[in-house]
Amino acid sequence: MSAEQRVADALDAFRHSLDNSGVIDGNAPDAVRYLHDWTGDYLGAACAVLRPKSVDEVQQIVRICSKYRLAIIPQGGNTGLVSGTVGNDAQGTIVLSLERLNRIRSIDPTNFTMRADAGVVLQSMKDAAENEDMLFPLALGAQGSCQIGGNVATNAGGINVLRYGMTRDLVLGLEAVLPDGSLWQGMTGLRKDNRGYDFKQLLIGSEGSLGIITGVEVKLFPRPANVETAYLGAESFESAMRLFGMARRICSDLLTAFEVIGSECIAMAKLGNPDTRPPLEGDWPVHIIMELGCSAAIDGRVLIETLLAEAFEAGLLGDGTIAQSRAQARAFWAIREDLVEGQAKRGRHVRTDLSVRLSDVPRMIDSCRQAIASDWPGWQPLAYGHAGDGNIHFNVLPPHDMPTEEIAAATPRVLASLYDIVRDLGGSFSAEHGVGRSRRDVYWDWLTPESRQLMKAIKSAFDPQGMMNPGGLMPD
């Protein structure tokens, strides 16, 4: 059977199983938005985009793919930043979008959990929790588009990891369709369960390489009634990190976020939103957004004022302000979000999400800045991120007039010099964005032989035919 015939037969089978709008031909204009990644840097190809509406339909698709030997790229909100959803095999791959599997199944206020289909958009999860006076704490810039299934598949982090952990810490149950079309059930909702291997932990962060997550049960938390947000200016990353330690102690470990923004990023925030106005007097090299949340009986304002008064005394802070209303707090956070928008407007650039021990954060930023200054004249570093988790986005903008091909060619070498620094510090080149296709080679390069062997064994235990997201995470 020719490849064309195989694809045509498979498409017929898909059309038979799914409704009209469930099957989009890979060459149709409607397919384009599923085939390129969020940054627009990469455009992929696939023979079809499939949009199942039920778990049963997902199983049927997987069986058809298995029969016609088609590979599957699961896709959530397609906001991933490592080309995890961008395949390039127009004859051998389908994109399976979970966007129509998007029902919140139930909320259990006593168990403090929510069950949802994998395709529910993160923001809808958060809104549903809030309607029940609870909090689903996962929070990231892409929350209006990314899906809970995608968050689980990438073990997403975000701004509230500090208090509530990564997605891994928030998942109490999973359900997934395995590459043979069977349904693995693990929606237990149990907080404690020591029966053997914990398979859901393997699926979390598996980036579509082991199976298709169709359902999730996540932890909810009491919604903090008091949220206090401060925007601060400091002399250095060193003082910022000392402030963080002091904040944990004085604020009874109630911090939910501690973000740093190198002042060089403010120009990007202004590019994202010309009305950007940091609430600081004077120029401070490091801006900090700090938030704490607590129940009504605890006076968060007193905690944060006590902390900041002491930090001032100790010379850790130059200037700052505490939000007097949620509107002001939102304006602080808008600066953090707008700087990401601003970078996107600058077009192609080098992005990282580096992770080191908290004690190494200032040293890492210093070394990266030095490396760029000495080896990449005209390139502009930007350092910001989740400093409370030791996670810094150290991005580098190319010179304004550089052609895209030249940027693309330089990117791996710029990355290599940054990754070397992190590797020397015993850190990670991927704090939260994952491996995908764009970092696969460096991932395998760093892996020890023992880890490589375990990776391969686990992959073949789940997916012996190599159907799941080939080219991502695992070597070809």
Binding site: P279, F312, G320, T321, I322, S325, R326, A327
Partner: protein, 248 residues
């Protein structure tokens, strides 16, 4: 000249308000409170007048529960000079508040009272007007621009379909609208300094007024949810469905 700025503690504008189970009002327990956003604009305007040398002292006053102190401290941190809390556990209603404010004006003798055009909790839009009537002062409501020249205040008002500029004889009442200014943040050093600024606690009786409710809330309910829309094929179908709905 002294300027008096009344400020109200209200549910934070970004909080989703819920009606109490028994319909007697809205849920205030465990809810984030903040200064009425229009009052923030009034405080900012007073500070700008002081910076411009038109005003010597800014007094902020709040009529409300003990926690309204926090709202006053915010105003002091922005730059007001001293504060008066008229403590009450009654629901503050426009007429009662206007009567207390008249008492405060009689005691403090400000040349100008600047306040929000309305509070975002009850949206009454009455207090400034009632106060002007009780005092017999000129009033400029919905101000988007305020200029003080000697004993005249020139106020640009946002009216339906445009702007109206009026001259007021001082002393006067100005109620402020959204476009007047962009309020400043309270800086950390100023938040600390504000803790030491004077804040007097008073009762309505100290100003010869009482706050007992003059209104009775009969019922509070959620606005009805919006009905789902329908899709029409073409203009003809649009027109016919508008007709059958009796809209045209």
């Amino acid at each position: 000249m002294k300027v008096l700025v009344p400020v109200k503690r209200v549910v934070d504008a970004n909080v989703k308000v819920r009606v109490k189970g028994d319909g007697s009002g809205v849920e205030l327990a465990n809810v984030k409170m903040a200064m009425n956003p229009f009052d923030e604009i009034a405080v900012e305007e007073a500070i700008r007048l002081k910076d411009a040398g038109k005003v010597e002292e800014i007094i902020v006053v709040s009529i409300g529960p003990a926690q309204a102190q926090e709202t006053l401290r915010t105003a002091l941190a922005m730059g007001a000079d001293r504060a008066i809390l008229v403590k009450t556990d009654e629901t503050a209603e426009p007429l009662g508040v206007a009567k207390v404010l008249k008492g405060v004006v009689d005691a403090e003798k400000p040349g100008l009272v600047i306040l929000g055009k309305q509070a975002i909790d009850d949206d009454a839009n009455q207090t400034g007007q009632m106060l002007a009537a009780l005092l017999g002062w000129a009033q400029g409501t919905f101000a988007s621009k305020v200029e003080i020249n000697g004993d005249k205040a020139k106020v640009t008002r946002e009216v339906d379909g445009g702007l109206q500029t009026i001259d007021l004889k001082m002393p006067a009442i100005v109620t402020v609208d959204l476009r007047l200014n962009q309020p400043r943040y309270a800086s950390l050093p100023n938040i600390m300094k504000a803790k030491k600024k004077p804040l007097d606690e008073k009762s309505a009786a100290d100003f010869g007024a009482d706050l007992k409710p003059r209104l009775k809330v009969v019922k509070t309910e959620e606005p009805g949810g919006r009905k789902a829309g329908v899709k029409v094929k073409d203009v003809a179908e649009l027109v016919s469905s508008l007709k059958s709905a009796g809209v045209i």
